[in-house]
């Protein structure tokens, strides 16, 4: 660890790894600091990612792919089971990763490109000069070191504090945090090649419960519920335990994973003078699916690209770095976040009966071209009584 870098990256998750790798590839000196003693552990993730999405960043490798998904199953509140083939299941058909290995691979790739990495090293405070972020105080084994940088990329995850220390409010609204728990379970009867989503107010209020296979008789079994619906006696863990006791009474839990996933809109602004914010820290998780791995890699890479261009021009002001904010909002990813936010807001207000109606009708639809709009149109055709609400949703998506 040196005292000065072009780019300092806070956090060694997918966002930080891609930021460090990209910065190094652009010929910049870069340091990734990670407060945990090990990259990738403990895992805070159900590890699902779309195949195409992953391929955009890295070629699949059996060392960190636990299972290959060819379908998805949705279980309606009334217990009705809808199976989706790969044409319909969209981006949720993909891989279930082994993130302990995957996250390490991403950081290895960053170091191969020339980035430095420091674990058990926590950014404890920003270095601020004339309103610019100029680095951070790094704590390592009881010692604090100053690391200066032209640009800092905050990729510090859902528990992000760095941007807040720089004056940016990152508070997630209570109703928009998915309070989550997951067990990695073995010895359970599952379909090895299909993810399963359980919906409904009794199962997972304003969220869903998932079974993501990790291989033969092994899966990530988890749940996310709205923070608004959480409280003493009805927490995520209470719901998950009830489900597991009923569905997998003989299963064995080999890993216990609490977590939080933000499903709010992204931060109003993801840059400041000398600072870019990427990944979960920027609140760019897909609000409908809760998926954030791809969005983290995407924003991490983009943040470093813009940082490199701005450093070269000698202007790392907020105004110059805004290029990053603008670019991700206008990207396919940014647009998907906005669209899926609206769909999520629609779905969480639906009573279970209407959700049942929708799922029943979707199961009979045979679409040639799968798009959100087509799907909504087809659902309205099958459920004329939903035309008002769904029409309003469709209008808001235009």
């Amino acid at each position: 660890m040196k005292g000065k870098y072009d780019v300092l990256v806070i956090g060694g998750g997918p966002a930080g790894a891609l930021a460090g790798k990209t910065a190094a590839e652009k010929g910049l000196s870069a340091l990734i600091v990670e407060k945990r003693p090990a990259i990738g552990a403990p895992v805070r993730c159900a590890e699902g990612i779309g195949k195409e999405a992953l391929h955009e960043f890295i070629d699949p490798d059996p060392r960190w792919i636990s299972a290959d998904m060819t379908g998805a199953t949705i279980v309606a509140p009334d217990g009705f089971v809808m199976k989706l083939g790969s044409e319909m299941a969209g981006s949720k058909v993909g891989y279930v990763l082994d993130r302990k290995i995957f996250d390490r691979e991403l950081v290895w790739k960053a170091t191969e490109a020339g980035a430095d990495v420091a674990v058990k090293s926590r950014a404890a405070a920003p270095i601020l000069e004339n309103g610019y972020v100029r680095g951070a105080q790094i704590e390592y084994c009881g010692k604090t070191t100053e690391v200066k940088a032209d640009v800092v990329i905050a990729a510090d995850g859902v528990e992000s504090k760095f941007s807040r220390w720089c004056g940016i409010d990152t508070t997630v609204p209570v109703r928009e945090i998915m309070s989550s728990v997951q067990y990695v379970m073995t010895d359970i009867d599952i379909d090895e090649h299909s993810t399963v989503f359980y919906l409904g107010n009794d199962v997972a209020p304003e969220g869903y419960l998932w079974v993501f296979p990790k291989g033969k008789r092994c899966a990530n079994v988890g749940i996310g519920i709205s923070g608004k619906k959480s409280g003493s006696g009805h927490r995520a863990k209470d719901y998950l335990d009830r489900f597991v006791n009923k569905t997998f009474p003989d299963g064995k839990t080999i890993e216990y994973i609490p977590g939080g996933v933000s499903v709010c809109r992204p931060l109003d602004c993801t840059v400041a003078d000398g600072l870019l914010i990427a990944g979960d820290a920027a609140r760019v998780v897909d609000p409908l699916t809760g998926g954030g791995i791809y969005n983290a890699m995407y924003t991490g890479r983009l943040a470093a690209e813009v940082a490199a261009a701005c450093i070269e021009r000698g202007d790392v002001s907020k105004k110059a770095l805004m290029q990053y904010d603008k670019a991700w909002r206008e990207s396919k990813m940014g647009k998907a976040i906005e669209r899926n936010y609206l769909i999520k807001e629609y779905l969480i207000k639906l009573p279970d009966t209407k959700l049942n109606d929708i799922i029943h009708s979707v199961s009979t639809i045979n679409m040639k071209e799968f798009t959100t709009m087509n799907l909504i149109k087809e659902i309205i055709k099958a459920n004329p009584k939903l035309v008002l609400e769904l029409g309003a949703l469709a209008a808001s998506l235009r």
């Binding site: 805070r44 859902v158 504090k161 609490p258 939080g260």
Partner: protein, 58 residues
């Protein structure tokens, strides 16, 4: 006052993200509570495990 039940906490950071005061910080496997905590209880509500509790001082 906010009490952290360290025997229950799984150091996941869910609570940190919702604190309106920025009073919580996850220092690897240790959740710290700063003096500016107002005991509003928001964090205790969302904790997936029930590791946080606001208790009356006195």
């Amino acid at each position: 006052m906010l009490i952290v039940r360290r025997d229950i906490c799984g150091y996941c950071g869910c609570c940190v993200s919702v604190c309106p005061e920025g009073a919580l910080e996850l220092i690897d496997a240790y959740l710290s509570v700063e003096k500016n905590c107002t005991s509003c209880g928001v964090c205790a509500k969302v904790c997936p495990l029930g590791a946080l509790e606001v208790v009356n001082e006195g």
